[in-house]
Symmetry: C2
């Protein structure tokens, strides 16, 4: 917390922190394997891009943050964990103006992580959310702290007995899932929503596309609507905390399966193992 | 702060508060005149509507909150002030799911207020923001804590030497200004953006429409685009903290003036004086 190591119960921020008041901040969620934050650089690049967009000056370099993360992992003896890094604009004057808010708040925390092992893999039930995001949302390329639509979409899904929500834009095009990127397989081709549609440039999303190129298997970035998604051979999600997760159903309708999802997940596991051991 | 009176420097919330992490909360900004929060009930109705939409249970009744507000005003001896009331979902588990987050955070604070007196009235320069909100944004009817677009629009305006930003939706229709509702006068008719367009149902906006009905002067709720706004007789903004504020220019082009704006502002002042003295 701002350079100090404190117990979770003492990790507090000002009630005038603009993160708390306006969602005026950013975050990244990384998986820690074997004591190392996985794809740290990619996450930090996105964070730094977001900070530039928000006119927010990070008070620490990527290297300083990495050292702090590693120290946090050591102190908590949590080599297998989820690492959350949150940056807000810090306390400021009342009102939207960012003038005078010059001391960003930086918080890192560790949380329990899910296993990547095949036997533990869930299959998620998806629900198309009634909540909509803006068409080609410019902020969609960053993990900003304004996540209420994602929170409400997830709550709607969970209330309906589903695990994850599918988010559409106000034109009815699929953008992503609340906490993950969306993939589907159609005739042996791995497809995902293009970033121009407002999808988050997910770190795991990029890895999936890299893995496709390496296999090789054809990959395409194309828009899609929920009805067409139901006709796909299989649907899966990508997210840092879980890797690849196959979708079991969409809006109560059972989705197909494809051996390609398992192949990609195994390649993902192998990549994680290689990079964590390096 | 959660039922306690604490100095501003000791007003802290958990770094795991979902308000801080996800903008998962709501707020209201009221003007206090003569020691009384102006139009308390209207603000609380909007807050309660937002809380219901967010599946968030307010831990205090409107009356309890009002008593706390009045006590806060007394203790700080600030009968002329801006009162900010923020409610967040409170601390929760990592991730978007609201499961397990059952203890909302409630913060009230007082801030210096602008004068309503005629001599002190500013005229604001407006800038059409490049930031866009979702078409007919369902969350637009509440003051949620996800305000990054408003923050960035205001920052963009201030960087360009303007005072306030005009927000359009992704279809290019005007929705509101970053921190205020938009009105314009066209041929003696007072016009504003309809709520269906995603405009915040501002408390001061409602009062302006009531004042028009009482004068009487014709009022209409119609969509508008920036080019048509430039052709209006006059443009003004409404917001709780300032009342009515005339716009001096839009994107560097001087806007017209109308005696109707001054008339409405005087009626607003009279209403404030009557209700504060009652």
């Amino acid at each position: 917390l701002n350079g100090q190591f404190v117990p979770a119960s003492e990790a507090v921020v000002s009630a005038f922190d603009r993160g708390f008041l306006y969602g005026d901040g950013l975050f990244e969620t990384l998986r820690v394997y074997c004591g190392r934050p996985f794809r740290w650089t990619k996450h930090l690049e996105r964070l730094e891009g977001g900070a530039a967009c928000l006119h927010l000056r990070l008070p620490y370099s990527a290297d300083e943050l990495k050292s702090a993360a590693e120290e946090l992992i050591r102190r908590n003896q949590m080599p297998e964990a989820v690492l959350r890094l949150a940056v807000s604009r810090g306390p400021g004057e009342r009102g939207y103006s960012i003038a005078g808010a010059a001391r960003p708040t930086v918080v890192m925390s560790l949380h329990p992580a899910a296993s990547l092992a095949e036997a533990d893999r869930p299959r998620w039930r998806l629900l198309t959310s009634s909540w909509r995001v803006a068409v080609r949302d410019r902020l969609g390329q960053f993990k900003t702290s304004c996540r209420l639509v994602h929170v409400l979409a997830r709550a709607e899904a969970e209330l309906a007995g589903a695990d994850e929500a599918l988010l559409l834009d106000t034109d009815g095009q699929v953008v992503e899932a609340a906490g993950s990127n969306l993939f589907w397989i159609q005739g042996g081709v791995v497809c995902t929503v293009p970033l121009e549609a407002g999808a988050l440039p997910g770190v795991t999303r990029s890895i999936v596309l890299e893995l496709c190129a390496a296999l090789p298997v054809a990959a395409r970035q194309v828009p899609i609507t929920p009805p067409r998604l139901l006709q796909a051979d299989a649907v899966f999600l990508s997210l840092s905390t879980w890797g690849l997760v196959e979708a079991a159903s969409l809006d109560g309708q059972t989705l197909g399966v494809s051996p390609l999802v398992q192949t990609l997940h195994q390649r993902y596991q192998a990549l994680v193992a290689a990079e964590s051991a390096a």
